[in-house]
Symmetry: C2
Subunit: 386 residues, 2 copies
C-alpha cells in the first residue's frame, strides 16, 4: 500500500445554521479545504462523504453526488459512507484506501450533517437509527438512555462519580474558548453540569453533546505529491472494528471492544504506543464515553478513567491532552462531520497552526458510531515514521 498524507483541511463553524442548507455547508467546507491545500476543484479525483442521516434530517440521500455537483467537482466518483456518528471517519478511511491503492492521487473526504431543520424530538428519534431499531428503539431507548446505562454501570463497578463525568464537559468547554469553529466556546463549571436538567439518569444536559449543523473536509494525497507540500500530515494508521449493534448483546457495559480491537491494530500499524501519542481527539458524545475512550485506548487502566480526568491528566498541559478544541460537547456534533473535524484538528496541531497553540508530532482520533458498534481510529504524524 502507498503512503498517504493530508494536505488540506477546513471546517465550517459547528452551530445552528438557520441560513445555510446541507449543500451550502458542504460546499463551504470543500472549497475551504481545496483552498487550504492550494489546489483547484479540478484536481480532486474522487470524493468520499460521511453523512449519517440526510434522508431523515433533510429528505436528501445521494448526498455525495449532490456535493460533487454543488461544489463543482463532478464528474468525479462520489461515495457516501455511513456508520452513524462514525460516518466521517469512515469516509476518511475509504478515501485513505482509495489513495493507498494507487487508484487516485488526490481525494477529498468530507463530513456533513444538517440536523436543526427537524424538531428536537424527531432528531432524537432519527439518531436512534444508529442503534438497534428492532430491539432498542422499539422499546423507547434513546442514545442518552444507552449511554446512561453505561455510565451507571461504570459508576457501580468502579466508583466513578458524577463530578468526574462533569469534569469531562468542563475540560472540553474550557478548551473551546477562543475557537472560531465551536458551537459553545465558553467555560462551564461542575456546578453548572450538576445543576443542569437530568436527561437520562445519571447524565445531565451538560453531559450531552448538542444537535448541530456543520461540515468539515480534508484532502488526502499520495506520498509523492505530499512531498511537494510544506506541512503534510501523514496517515500512520487507519483502522476500524465493529461490535454488536445492540448494547444488551455485549458481555460488558463498561468497555468498548470495537475500540480496543481497532486500537491494537492501529498501534501495531503505526508502530506506536499510547505513551508516545501527543494528543487525543475522542468521541465525547456523552461525558461517560470520553472516559471509556481513554480507558479502552490504553491511556489508563480500566475503571480509572474518572480519577484520570479528575487528576487533570487530560487538560491541555496534562499527561495526554484530550479534545483540545472542545470535543463534541463544546465544539458541536453534526454527526457525519465530527470524524473529519477531529482529523482536521489533528492536522492543524501537527502543522502548529491550531488556535489552541498546541504543536504536536502526532495525534490519534477516535470516532465512534452508535453505542460502540463502530469504532474508527486514525493516527496522524508530522513524520512518516514515528
Amino acid at each position: 500500500m502507498n503512503k498517504v498524507a493530508v494536505v488540506g483541511v477546513h471546517q465550517t463553524r459547528f452551530d445552528e445554521h438557520w441560513d445555510k442548507s446541507l449543500r451550502d455547508l458542504a460546499r463551504e467546507a470543500s472549497l475551504g479545504a481545496i483552498s487550504d491545500a492550494g489546489l483547484d476543484n479540478s484536481d480532486i479525483k474522487s470524493l468520499y462523504v460521511g453523512n449519517m442521516s440526510g434522508g431523515r434530517f433533510v429528505g436528501q440521500e445521494h448526498i455525495a453526488a449532490l456535493i460533487a455537483d454543488h461544489a463543482g467537482m463532478n464528474p468525479i466518483p462520489a461515495v457516501r459512507c455511513e456508520a452513524a456518528c462514525a460516518s466521517g471517519a469512515l469516509a476518511f478511511r475509504e478515501a485513505y484506501l482509495a489513495v493507498a491503492s494507487g487508484k487516485y492521487d488526490i481525494v477529498m473526504a468530507l463530513g456533513v450533517e444538517k440536523m436543526t431543520d427537524l424538531k428536537t424530538q424527531d432528531v432524537i428519534t432519527s439518531l436512534m437509527g444508529a442503534g438497534d431499531q428492532e430491539w432498542e428503539a422499539s422499546i423507547g431507548l434513546t442514545f442518552a438512555g444507552l449511554y446512561a446505562l453505561m455510565a451507571r454501570a461504570h459508576m457501580n463497578k468502579f466508583g466513578t462519580t458524577q463530578e468526574q463525568l462533569a469534569l469531562v464537559s468542563v475540560n472540553n468547554h474550557k478548551n473551546a474558548v477562543g475557537s472560531p469553529f465551536a458551537q459553545f466556546p465558553f467555560e462551564i463549571t461542575v456546578k453548572d453540569v450538576l445543576a443542569s436538567p437530568i436527561i437520562a439518569d445519571p447524565l445531565h444536559l451538560l453531559d450531552c453533546s448538542p444537535i448541530s449543523d456543520g461540515a468539515s473536509a480534508v484532502i488526502l494525497v499520495t506520498e509523492k505529491l505530499a512531498k511537494t507540500f510544506a506541512k503534510p500530515a501523514w496517515v500512520l494508521a487507519s483502522e476500524q472494528a465493529t461490535d454488536t449493534l445492540a448494547l444488551h448483546d455485549r458481555k460488558s457495559l463498561v468497555e468498548m471492544l470495537s475500540t480496543k480491537i481497532a486500537a491494537k491494530k492501529a498501534y501495531d500499524e503505526a508502530g506506536i504506543q499510547p505513551k508516545n501519542i501527543d494528543v487525543l481527539e475522542v468521541h465525547d458524545c456523552f461525558s461517560i464515553n470520553e472516559i471509556l475512550c481513554i480507558e479502552d485506548l490504553g491511556f489508563c487502566e480500566k475503571g480509572k478513567g474518572g480519577a484520570f480526568v479528575e487528576a487533570g491528566k487530560i487538560s491541555k498541559n496534562g499527561e495526554i491532552p484530550v479534545n483540545t478544541t472542545g470535543g463534541l460537547k463544546a465544539g458541536g456534533h453534526p454527526v457525519g462531520a465530527t470524524g473529519i473535524r477531529q482529523i482536521a484538528d489533528l492536522v492543524k496541531m501537527i502543522r502548529g497552526e491550531c488556535y489552541n497553540r498546541l504543536s504536536v508530532n502526532n495525534g490519534l482520533a477516535l470516532n465512534i458510531g452508535g453505542s460502540g458498534a463502530t469504532a474508527n481510529i486514525n493516527i496522524l504524524g508530522r513524520e512518516l515514521k514515528v
Copy 2:
C-alpha cells in the same frame, strides 16, 4: 493495484418479504455467498454494504455494523455505501478497492433493501431522496416523473415509440421466466404494457420497476487466492462517474454523461470495446432508461435505441443479450441490492451456472443512481485478460 476476482455469490429472492426483516435478508445473502465460496464467516476481513434508505424505509441506519453482527462477521470493519439506486455497485467498487489496495484479501460486498414496510406513497417520497430535494422533490416531482421527461424528450427528438419502450419490459419479463429469484417470473405483452395504467405520461405501470425487498452478496478476493478457486470471475474494470443531481441542470435530457464517462474509463481499463462484450446488465428502473443505457454504453448510435430493441437485438440470442435474468423490471428492484445482484448474475453466467443457460466470457453491469447523477460500471471476465 492488485488484481481482484469474485469467488462467491448469492441472492435472496427479490419479492415482498412480509416474513423477513432487513437483517434477515442480509444474513441470508451473506451466508449464502460465504457458502457458495466454500469459506467460513471468519474468513471475511471487511464488509461493504449498499443500502439506499434504511433510515426512512425501516428506521435503521448503521446497517453495515448491524449486518456484520447479525451474520456473525463482527468485529470486522463494516461500511455502508450509498448513492441511491447505485448503492450496491458502489459497495462493490469500494470492496474492490479495498482488495486491490492490498489491505484485505477477502472482502464481502452486500446489497440490501427492505422497502415494503412502508405505504407505497411513502416509499415514493423516500425514493425522491435520490433526486434534488430542494429543487425537484419540493415541487412534487417523482422518479416516474423525471424518467417520463426523459422518455418524452427521447420520443420527440428521435421518434422512439411507446411500443419500443414496452418491448424493453416484454424482453425483461421473458428473461425472468424460470428464475428462482425474480419477483415477476412471467411473460407480458406489448398490449399488456400499453393497457396498464399511466403512471407519468408516457410511462405506464409496466414500464416501471417494482418496489421490492431483497439482498444479494458477493465475495471478492486477491489474485493469489482467486487461483485456488475453480471458477473465479475477474474484475476487469470498476469505474464510476457523477453528473448534476437535478435533471434540469443538464444540457441534454436524452443522454447520461455519467454513463458515458464511466464507460469510456471502464473500456480503457479492461482493454475492451462494446463489440467484445458478451452480455449486459443495465439499469431498467424505467423502460426508457434501458434504452439510454444501451445507447450511452455505445451499443448503438444515440437515438437508435428504440429501433435496436424493436429489432430484437437485446434478446437472449440477439446481438447483445441485455438483462437476461429479468432486469429490475421483472427481477425486482430492492434498490441497494440491485447493483450486487447484477454482478452476481454476471458471475453465474461467466461460470456457466445461471438458470438462463447463458455461458459467457465476460459481461458488463451498469448500475445508475437517481436520474443519472451516479453511474457505476463493472466489467467482469472469465480470464484476467480479454
